[in-house]
Symmetry: D4
Subunit: 255 residues, 8 copies
């Protein structure tokens, strides 16, 4: 990968200095930054660009495709995180890599070959109801895999808003807040109006009828009258956990 | 109108008793219960069926059509309420009926020829923001026209939820609560979780982008996780005021 | 829970009077009003706020989560109502609580530990067709659980409108009317034009093609040309029964 | 136009009989059945195929384009019907063809050069409200232009259903019924359940909020629980009048 | 049922003439026109109002509910038609009524206790593809059950439009044309431009992706540039067959 | 089939020359261009009109219907391509035609009885992810069946855009580019901005939540800010392969 | 721009050969390929990448922004094409560049400083109606600006399909066909079934009611049962003209 | 406002210590945290809760309502930011507060009475096109008002992706990235795949046809295949600027 000018100038300088032949430079410049697997091109350059290794999206991939990608990442000594893995596919993977851990509520497979020490500053994960657990745990495990502490505040939806007030201190002590809610998703606005930290809202498909598969909560969160709320896709616990981790790590970088 | 069996039996008995000729009975049975105006059939039977006179929906009617219907109702000694009247149409009506009152925030025309004494028990009208005023006043004036006291609690949206708590006593002292909100409409759920009275939620078209003309608040309110909330059409302040009045009058009937 | 000012003033006075230590007052103020269950926070304060105990929404919860919540409520001597319980989950619950009753048409579990004497004034539940039965029974059982009499008027859709007229007296004698209809949902408007009581309309997902999962009936009911109609979510029999009960109890409170 | 086999066989026979040269036959077969106007190809073959001359859809055409098409039809001695003509365009056309008649409620221009005697059997046009008049008159004038008698039954929506019953005889005496309604469009189902004649339903865009420009009434009519109802596009009075005329003329053809 | 004035006047006259007691008249007037089945009110008055007996919509009804309704209709000596019956429900019904016929392509059950002689004039049923067969046969069997001849013209979609032209004579010889198409549904417009008879278009859910369950074909048909096309719900073969039958019978009545 | 004037003139001339009787000519003109199969009309004229034989769309057809159509095409010595064939139906077909090949990733059946030599110029098929493979192979096999070379460039989505740049040469050397992507489908715009060849974009249903079954990628591709992109239906690999083949063959025709 | 490896290798070789300093090479590699205008970055590298200069999309840009971009392109000796220019903006531009030509039907501004000789092979542009002219001319002028001959075949919609057959020869003699239609857009499928060349379909927003701003025609074209059709955005005449030109030029390149 | 326990405990302790009377404590607890303006309740407690003063949303408020709220905030010595102010309303405000500044591209009014020194770490604002300027400036001015440095990178959409690569260094040096794009919105995914900082995506309503008022770009951004992207409402530049500022300030707090 060659977008960074410094790298490019350094290569050019080496050619001028005869430290590098044109052929060798071309090879170096042509280093693809990925491993070709026929059905996939595993992105080995990603930590360099975005700070984190590639995360495998398990849905729509066969167990053997997932295994192939894991093998490539393990060879490259990367930590592995696979989301949306059904129990059947998980079993097939665990048969080959028995050291991997399958988190069944979150439907996530993880393997931490390299230790990631958690940041002291926490991410709060707040849910409206019990049915939002799968998405909440997907967010929590993602955040933990990338070295964050997580405060879980579950089932504090606005039908009984005193439950939220009772946990407000925990929420306010974190650096970033993830709010997860289905049905009408009003919790995001209420939290947004009470905290001074960035809020990432995750609509879930929990509900029926006019929730239209999560559309209802999604629109609620996009139209929030409270400021400081950004939104990810319906049921996208992973995305919320990932973004929250990026934000939380900013505090580390600048210390 | 002849659906009520008692009325029918009474007519039949009178025929049997020769107190009524067949022709006269037919006329009585055929009393249409409306006045034919060519472009409209004014429903003069409505108070008998539903307890209230017809309300004129002003949109899509010309000023002269509105005038014709008003004239019919005035002749029948009914109170007149016209909703969604533009200032232009209102001016045309007031030129003919200078005693009518035009409420410009609510875009409503009223004429109370018969006095309607207000019930002691109140209807609370709660709005999320300042931009919801037109709809709120449409609801308030409708409720007042039908003999209800109204408590106005405006601009208490969830972005600053303490404003709502500061007015919770007023809300809890009313018999019915109307909650009016645009954008994400979360206020309805929050109020629903805090009171023990029926809540009627009115989504408004206030907002932009993914509010899709009020769809966002509508879906929020339909999917509310709080119980005891029913919903009317987007911007339908009149409908909420009408239903709240019906409910409030139940308490009177049963005393 | 501390929103009510009287309660707060009374606590403060007791501190001033040295009848209460600051610590004890803090505990009392900090009484959360819920029981923490890890996956749920059961709202034990709800009867105080909204007049009714929490109702358990069974969908998306595991049988063991439902059992845990039931146990908490039973310990708190609350009546239990669980909606949207599949026969499989119901069987698991009944194995532990054999005294609970499973209503299979409505897919509802109930346990009335405290007797709720029914009000004399009734709620009419009117359906358009036979396929609306599940939703209708969910509404009926909810209303009955909260102490209301219910008049069932089923299968009187507008394709044969004389069936409705034949039952109009029963409908008119009730205090609140619930109208349940799928397909085009026209029944709500027709009933709304014939009665002087509040009408709660429930669209159902019955139908196919352009009914789009109940959207068709929902839009019909929201746009009704008849006044006095409010709407709940598609298939939300519970919500209609709950709101109707709230309205019906108003008549009691004011006597 | 050559699809009809008889015509084709007759031409071939004439060639075989040397009554027609190959060139002449090719010309005859190649008779395009339309007049080329650069911006339009006026379909002069339509009466032959569908029984009626082309009707000009005025929207999206300039006044001069409309004039050009009228001129072509007038030259071909066809009756002219132009729908959706704004007053401005109508004035431009009338300046050239002062004998044409502009119906301003319906926004239609007509010119009957050939007399079309009306059928004795009538088409009933039933509307829910006063605001549906433009669409109703578009349907009525179309039907009358094609030789049908029309019975107008306006403003009989289900909010006051007795108005409909009062006019049921007129409706039942017609051969075809057109029902026109906006908002929730329930009238179509009610009429469909009461008559034994084909019902054509026209949803209108009358309403606001969740009527979504007529979508609400459209879905209602498509999902009707009553049998015997077919539907045309939102506000398509012309289409309903045209189809009703086709149906009404069937009775004539078969006598 | 009492809407018809003649009937009413006759009853009143009889009372005046002492040929009928008030009680007897009330009974006669109160004849409900339906049979109460607890879960259904079978509409026995329908032939009187709409010319055809009630048709049972099988979806969403249990086999035992269907059986109960059939029994009521058989007792009343009505012909029976049940649509959308799964093979499982059909087997349960046939076990009780072995003389009924189950048409498995159309998923329809029929029993003709009274002979309905077919009209000489035919209904053409035209489909775009092979996958539209279920809907086409639902339409065809409905039309035949109500005494119509049917011309089946299947698989003539516009991808090979010459197949349509080859069958145009058959189509043109019928009194009414039903066009059934999924995917983009263009066939309806093409047929509409070629015939002078009313066309009823049935969109089907055949297709994938952006057909959105038949929405694509539905919109096509509603927006047709050809005149004389009316539309029924997606996959509603029954509705099309029913309406076509009504239209076809008009020709009979007027002869 | 008779649309081509030359053919028609030649027939007419033969009649004039008494080389052909009128009856024979009528038969020739009436040659339907299809084989009637009761449930299908196999279009044998298609190669003549569109350059390719009919392709069988397997979904919604029974195995025996598919077999019947194959038999007809085999008899007419056409190459056979069946798309969207489930493994079960494929097995039933292979039992009768064991020489056919079933491609299980693409769910396609093929039989090349006539050899189609591939063009030297290639079609590039570019996918965003591994989950797009089924659609990609449907496109690839279609293109190969019609005599095109295919360059497969899989899993180069914009999350790791360097993978695309690494394969840009292969893409730029082809005559037409097919871009296949689900989720947000951004890859099409990026490729469109980098190549000077026509790009056909295929949205896939890969994704969840607010992808609404592929709608998300579809809208992305239709609204592309890059020029030179046209779009086919969601998951329509066949359509893309077919259109690409048509375009690629243009280069051959003009050499 | 540096993606092409040859260019890169040549630069590296020159450095190795001391023909180029590292600084100079860096400048050359860093040549941005665009001109910075503060509010815009004019893409001067586009002809190199995609074969055509940038086309200016006029909507949402001020007249002075358009003028600035034109000036940049004129300086770079590029031909200029601006689409969607209102008459007001056009006047402002013409005041500065009086040699530019404004095509008012198409709302396009052009300036051909470099002569583009037209290809002999033509693009056919086929429209369903007169109201599609603006879009058709946008496509036609785009194609002509890029050196293509255009055959205009206007107003041949399926309501009078013989008009299409009369022009089929012109259509079949072209290399690419653009089909433009609003309302139900059926014309695309019909043309697709009759020609052996690639068809680009353009849905237009012509129509009303359930056409939903062109959605109806868009869905029709995406779901076409005919093969060989690809689709562009609603009203996107430019995009169709551009893609057709790319395809048409393929034939040239390969000669 | 009393949610914070420390504050509460401190008040209670003072009462116990007789430093505070019960009445005074009640007043203090009852301090509403807002100023009542009849049509608005200005939230003066917000800086305390969320770190920033209330921002006035100008749309749907009259100039005099805006003035009233400004006056309240000025009295409370808060900085003032009003978004979505039309030039007309701005003029009315400036007539009263001539020191306020109106930014006409962004349609924002600002008044910084208290100096907010900018953070050294920057927010990058990246747009796809020139037409996205209004939204971009709304984001930029919001961020600057809250003490952030802003790097503007405009018009780098994927149709000419080299423009983005040319500015990648500027983007990578910022702490947070806002990506603003209309049409298909692909830029967000491309940027997301290239940086290791949180990306906030803003869909704009720029485009036409199937962009459905910004829905297209919104769905693109929600479904992004790149990780680390969160989304705000269509055209919500303010919201993006606000959230980015919150994130950027985290880095400050933790130093």
């Amino acid at each position: 990968m060659v977008e960074k000018e410094d790298e490019m100038a350094s290569i050019l300088q080496k050619i001028a200095d005869h430290e590098l032949s044109v052929d060798m430079a071309m090879n170096q410049l042509k280093d693809p930054g990925f491993v070709e697997l026929n059905y996939a091109k595993v992105d080995t350059d990603r930590p360099h660009r975005t700070g984190y290794p590639e995360v495998i999206y398990g849905e729509g991939k066969t167990a053997s495709q997932i295994l192939g990608i894991i093998q490539t990442m393990v060879s490259a000594e990367m930590n592995v995180l696979v989301t949306r893995v059904s129990p059947e596919k998980a079993a097939a993977v665990l048969a080959v890599y028995p050291k991997m851990i399958y988190h069944d509520t979150a439907q996530i497979l993880t393997w931490q070959s390299i230790d990631v020490p958690p940041l002291p500053s926490a991410i709060a994960i707040v849910t409206a109801g019990t049915s939002d657990l799968r998405v909440a745990e997907e967010a929590a495990l993602t955040a933990e895999a990338f070295g964050n502490s997580v405060s879980r505040v579950y089932d504090v939806g606005v039908a009984g808003i005193h439950r939220l007030f009772a946990r407000l201190d925990v929420i306010r002590q974190s650096q970033v807040v993830i709010v997860i809610a289905g049905m009408e998703g009003a919790l995001a606005s209420v939290v947004g109006g009470l905290v001074d930290k960035p809020v990432i809202a995750v609509p879930t498909s929990v509900g029926y009828g006019a929730n239209f598969g999560g559309m209802s909560a999604l629109l609620t969160m996009l139209n929030s009258c409270a400021s400081g709320i950004t939104v990810v896709n319906i049921d996208n616990g992973f995305g919320a956990g990932y973004s929250a981790s990026q934000i939380n790590h900013l505090t580390e970088n600048t210390k």
